[in-house]
């Protein structure tokens, strides 16, 4: 009796996990691709300034910070976690890098290194609390959000740091492809997406992340060291937030203690719009890039055609609910 039940469940599981993990990335990206294309078409018709290389480069540049944060967020959400602290960690990195380089007079590269280190340490702290004390990620990162926010404001003394050395803003510099100026930072973001995509889809480490997120107990029984996987994911995410803080420095050209206050939710928005499931184990970074671009395109497009900025928020809200609804529908159908 018990064995029949187990066998039935097994078949159910095999179906669900197999089809999700393998087919979901392609299918789940279908929605965002359509939304993106549709928005693009709409704005091309409404404004003659939308469909230009320069404008696309601008959109990329505008999503590079949240997009990069969203890579780390995707990794964490794939393990069925969530990170509310990423914007605050980035703001801390941003202040550390700029203040160490400007006020403390450190070599800019050393300052960048220390900033990356601090962000990684925060990631480790998140991961450590989640894996060793088994606190819910939501609570852990709510705590570290406040800690990082407070440290940022204490260390910065509420002051904006300007007159940065050129090395810190290098990623904000541009090069020309034909008539179009492209920033190095946008390229770095795309490269990071590429690396994350390769790791998630082509390596066993990537499959372990999906497995841990989909079914931690099952993953453990197959010999995956689930705690180590989760810890590593949080630490790597922290490092990625460090890179995001460098991108932020290069984009705004200052150290700004008030930066990143809504970026945690913005990065979750990008992940969710990209079709990644908040329950873990399903989704892709390619979708996250699309999700970030959807937000960027709608913001830019609405501005170009002269619509009030509040409509961007309205549309994003509708899209988020739809994306999650689709995810839930998928779960019910397949489970």
């Amino acid at each position: 009796m018990a064995s029949t039940k187990a066998a039935g469940a097994e078949i159910k599981l095999r179906n669900s996990v197999g089809s999700f993990a393998k087919n979901a990335p392609d299918l789940a990206t279908l929605g965002p691709v359509i939304a993106l294309v549709l928005a693009g078409l709409f704005f091309s018709i409404k404004s003659d300034r939308f469909l230009t290389g320069g404008n696309f480069s601008l959109i990329l540049q505008q999503v590079m910070v949240v997009g990069t944060l969203a890579i780390g967020q995707t990794l964490i959400i794939l393990t069925a976690g969530i990170d509310l602290s990423n914007g605050a960690i980035m703001a801390l990195g941003n202040i550390l890098i700029t203040k160490l380089a400007v006020d403390a007079g450190l070599n800019p590269f050393l300052a960048i290194g220390l900033g990356l280190l601090a962000c990684t340490a925060f990631g480790l702290l998140n991961g450590g609390l989640v894996t060793t004390i088994r606190l819910p990620p939501f609570i852990v990162t709510l705590g570290t959000l406040n800690i990082a926010f407070a440290l940022t404001h204490i260390y910065s003394n509420e002051e904006t740091i300007s007159d940065l050395p050129a090395a810190l803003t290098y990623l904000g510099k541009t090069f020309n492809v034909g008539q179009t100026e492209i920033t190095y930072g946008s390229l770095l973001m795309i490269a990071l997406f590429g690396i994350a995509w390769c790791i998630l889809t082509q390596t066993s480490a990537g499959r372990h992340i999906y497995a841990v997120g989909d079914n931690p107990e099952g993953a453990r029984l197959t010999g995956i060291r689930t705690r180590r996987v989760v810890l590593t994911v949080y630490a790597v995410a922290g490092f990625i937030y460090g890179i995001a803080s460098l991108l932020l420095v290069s984009r705004t050209g200052v150290g700004d203690p008030n930066a990143g206050q809504t970026d945690n939710l913005d990065s979750i928005t990008a992940v969710v719009l990209g079709g990644t499931s908040l329950f873990g184990g399903r989704g892709s970074v390619a979708g996250t890039l699309l999700g970030a671009l959807i937000v960027g395109v709608i913001r830019n497009g609405l501005q170009l055609i002269g619509t009030k900025s509040i409509y961007q928020v309205l549309i994003t809200g509708i899209l988020v609910i739809l994306a999650v609804a689709i995810d839930q529908l998928a779960r019910r159908r397949k489970a």
């Binding site: 393998k22 601008l58 300007s162 497995a211 930066a259 913001r299 619509t307 409509y311």
Partner: protein
């Protein structure tokens, strides 16, 4: 939803999963080894439609929302002017936007508007500047959220020939923009300082100061103006640090927020119950302070003065909650800004330096020798 997210290793609705570890293990191995393809099911198509249709609807809706610019891409001769405020929600900025819209409609100028998500959202304002430059704006009017951090973005826009005018708040340094159209915030403080001095007429006072936040120029200027006008401290309008005075028994930051103003006043009354004069950075903070003072039963012993001239604030002056307020004129700032961009677009003339958009003392209890307007004037000219 959130507790689902919060659970480590949550497996979602079908909780039976974790009770069948063996099956799960097999499944995981399958994930790792064998890719399987399934046909696209009908519901995927349906969900795609679900995603697409409302998006389209929302886009159309938003396009309709964009008032009078149906021919957005077509209009080549029409000058484009951008207005970037700190937030979309503060009535001060709503009034500013209204002023810009009126002027734009009257002059046949196309107006783009944008705002940060919260007060202090520099990145949001940077993005707005970039998008407005990309959409061909000849001039941008901006109330900088972070007076220093916005400067690199402003410099880039100006390098592309865009006229940039700061409204309400100066950038740091002020020369980073072409011109500043704003209230003289030091003078706004001086007016209520002089008024409070006339009202208290040399009696001994214990002052509470409910300020904005550290390091924000507007807050420092009003604070110093009040102390200077009251004669409590010798301080000039160029001082960058808030002055202190012996008669000030309590200073608290409120972020200009009503709830924080109330908490700050409660703290101050705890510190010194003899406080009889309260300076507030704006009217929400003043109303919060009034709530705390009334709760302590001291509303007849304490005088509150404030700055802003919002309609709620002027009503509070009418009700006697606030004795006097310095009214400023966001509508005028925006209208003059639009005019300036238009003349730049037509003949290239640029405004420069600081343009004072005026400030008026509003009270129903005038003090001899101090110019003021009554509440009716205040209500006719209020914002919000």
């Amino acid at each position: 939803m959130s507790d689902k997210i919060a659970m480590p290793g949550s497996v979602g609705p079908d909780g039976d999963r974790s009770t069948v570890p063996l099956g799960a293990a097999t499944a995981v191995i399958e994930v790792a080894r064998r890719p399987r393809r399934r046909p696209v099911r009908g519901w995927w198509r349906r969900s795609a439609a679900l995603l697409v249709l409302p998006t389209a609807a929302a886009l159309v809706l938003s396009a309709c929302g964009s008032s009078s610019d149906g021919s957005a891409s077509g209009g080549t001769d029409q000058a484009v002017v951008g207005l970037i405020t700190k937030t979309d929600t503060n009535p001060f900025f709503v009034k500013m936007k209204e002023g810009a819209e009126k002027a734009a409609t009257a002059k046949g100028v196309k107006l783009l508007t944008a705002a940060g998500k919260f007060d202090g959202d520099n990145a949001g304002q940077v993005t707005a500047i970039e998008n407005m430059v990309a959409s061909g704006a000849r001039g941008i009017l901006i109330t900088p959220s972070d007076t220093k951090a916005i400067i690199p973005a402003i410099a880039k826009a100006r390098a592309k020939g865009v006229l940039v005018i700061a409204l309400d708040s100066p950038t740091d340094p002020q020369s980073a923009v072409d011109a500043l159209f704003a209230t003289d915030n030091f003078q706004a403080g001086v007016l209520i300082g002089e008024y409070a001095k006339g009202l208290t007429g040399g009696k001994s006072v214990k002052i509470a100061m409910l300020d904005l936040a550290p390091g924000i120029a507007v807050g420092t200027l009003r604070h110093n103006g009040f102390l200077s006008g009251f004669g409590a401290a010798e301080v000039s309008g160029t001082a960058s640090e808030p002055a202190s005075a012996a008669s000030v028994v309590c200073s608290q930051d409120t972020q200009g927020d009503q709830a924080k103003g109330q908490a700050a006043m409660e703290t101050c009354l705890q510190k010194d119950p003899g406080i009889n004069l309260v300076y507030t950075i704006n009217e929400p903070a003043a109303l919060g302070a009034y709530t705390a003072i009334a709760a302590a039963g001291k509303e007849n012993d304490v005088t509150i003065v404030s700055v802003d001239g919002g309609c709620t604030g002027v009503e509070a002056v009418k009700d006697g909650k606030i004795a006097a307020t310095s009214q400023q004129y966001p509508l005028k700032m925006a209208q003059r800004g639009v005019d300036a961009v238009l003349s730049y677009a037509t003949d290239g003339t640029k405004p420069s330096g600081y343009v004072d958009t005026g400030v008026t003392l509003i009270t129903d209890k005038p003090v001899a020798g101090i110019d003021s307007e009554n509440v009716e004037f205040g209500l006719d000219n209020c914002w919000g």
